[in-house]
């Protein structure tokens, strides 16, 4: 996954952008925990909202729509689930794995740009 800050760099002061990146990294970590809890409680609406929030953040931080297509599909799939309906352990594992893949890619991309900004 690639975080492209070109547009933001031209419009936002470096110290503000740096702070935004740090907050984004923390938000991704926090939301990942909330997602795990939501999935295991079969609160799929909340899980979908958390993905939506993270996807929105990724878009703002310059991740392309094409790179977010898979997680968007997961978001739609979870939003379409009947509230409270219990899923099989396999489904839960798949939902968790798909989200983790996205979360880790995004987190790594954020850490990379954050480190490169610090070293500049």
């Amino acid at each position: 996954m690639h975080v492209d800050l070109t547009d933001l760099k031209s419009n936002i002061a470096p110290e503000v952008l740096s702070s935004i990146l740090q907050r984004a990294i923390k938000q991704v970590k926090d939301d990942a925990e909330l997602y795990q809890q939501a999935i295991h409680k079969a609160d799929f609406a909340l899980a979908a909202q958390l993905i939506h929030r993270m996807r929105g953040l990724a878009l703002f931080l310059g991740v392309s729509e094409s790179e977010l297509a898979q997680v968007f599909a997961l978001e739609n799939e979870l939003a379409a689930r009947v509230p409270g309906c219990m899923e099989t352990p396999l489904s839960i594992a798949v939902f968790t794995a798909q989200f983790d893949l996205f979360r880790m890619s995004f987190e790594t991309a954020l850490l990379n740009v954050s480190d490169s900004k610090r070293s500049c």
Partner: protein, 323 residues
């Protein structure tokens, strides 16, 4: 809402086929020996048209019994002459006036275009925004405030000429007669009352930073209820509304605002911001009562273009931008 329904007692369609119904070049019987002709394009075109009109289409069919197609289009009652088409409703010409000083046979065609754009025809040149005349070479001339804007031969060129005038600014004073450029009556960016409703604080800060560069300092709201309360207290000129927010989503917020505006002589410009950029999402936003639609991410350029389109910012970039 306008609902159209067409029912036949024909061959019907199997359920497995219905999910592909709106794909182009699809027919229930695709064999070369089928009984019925056609290219299989009709319904895909209808679906596209319905989407463009922000409507919905549904099909129910029972094999060997028949099919029912229902179309729902978001429309409201009004005077026929005052109804602008969806396509032209965003030109910024709605409610403006024009004098047509040309004779038959071109008169009805021009009149029809004006109606499409939401422009009223008037007879008083002194109070009209535009005049349309005919040159000796039989070219049609569009003038604004007595100055020629451009000439056209085909009446379908009229909307783009009108739009170019709208984008360069139409005076908002009660006397519609244009005598000076619009700059003097336009709102200064620092005076724009804007509420930015977005639940993610990081996204909110990014948008607020972009807006500051455009000279706008928005109030912010972290959910739909907060946004509604702020709207009641501050009566902003414009709101940027995230569609998915906790407590009250952007669609419900919009409906509440539009309901509260009913009977009042105000219309808050409501612009949706969403991470979903499909035609369906745009349709849902407009159906809820929003005026326009922005997809995430909101770059400074996107915001700038949108605010100029709705004349929130001056057409002259140097008037508003801080770099």
């Amino acid at each position: 809402m306008l609902q159209l329904s067409v029912t036949d007692t024909g061959t019907g369609m199997p359920a497995s086929y219905l999910q592909h119904l709106f794909e182009p070049f699809i027919q229930a019987d695709g064999s070369t020996t089928r009984r019925f002709g056609g290219t299989g394009l009709g319904l895909s075109i209808v679906k596209r048209l319905v989407d463009l009109m922000h409507g919905k289409i549904a099909v129910a069919s029972v094999l060997n019994q028949g099919t029912r197609v229902e179309i729902t289009l978001p429309m409201s009652w009004g005077e026929l002459r005052e109804l602008p088409s969806t396509q032209f409703s965003r030109l910024g010409a709605l409610g403006k006036t024009a004098v047509i000083a040309v004779g038959s046979p071109i008169f009805p065609a021009i009149n029809a275009w004006l109606i499409h754009m939401g422009i009223s025809r008037c007879n008083d040149v002194a109070h009209a925004n535009w005049t349309i005349t005919e040159s000796v070479e039989h070219k049609l001339i569009l003038s604004y405030a007595g100055a020629e804007i451009g000439s056209f031969v085909c009446t379908s060129e009229l909307p783009s000429l009108i739009q170019s005038t709208c984008q360069s600014g139409i005076p908002q004073a009660s006397d519609n007669r244009a005598t000076t450029p619009a700059k003097s009556t336009e709102i200064q960016a620092k005076d724009i009352r804007m509420i930015l409703a977005e639940d993610n604080d990081i996204n909110r800060d990014i948008i607020a930073q972009q807006l500051l560069l455009l000279g706008i300092s928005p109030r912010t709201a972290c959910d739909g209820l907060d946004a509604l309360e702020q709207w009641r207290q501050n009566r902003p000129t414009i709101m940027l509304i995230d569609c998915q927010m906790p407590k009250m989503d952007g669609y419900e917020l919009t409906r509440q605002i539009r309901s509260a505006e009913t009977g009042e002589d105000i219309h808050t410009l409501l612009i949706a911001i969403t991470a979903n950029a499909s035609v369906t999402d745009e349709r849902d936003c407009l159906a809820a009562g929003m005026d326009d639609f922005l997809s995430k991410p909101l770059t400074r350029q996107k915001l700038d273009t949108m605010l100029r389109k709705w004349k929130i910012l001056s057409a002259d970039p140097s008037t508003n931008n801080r770099t």
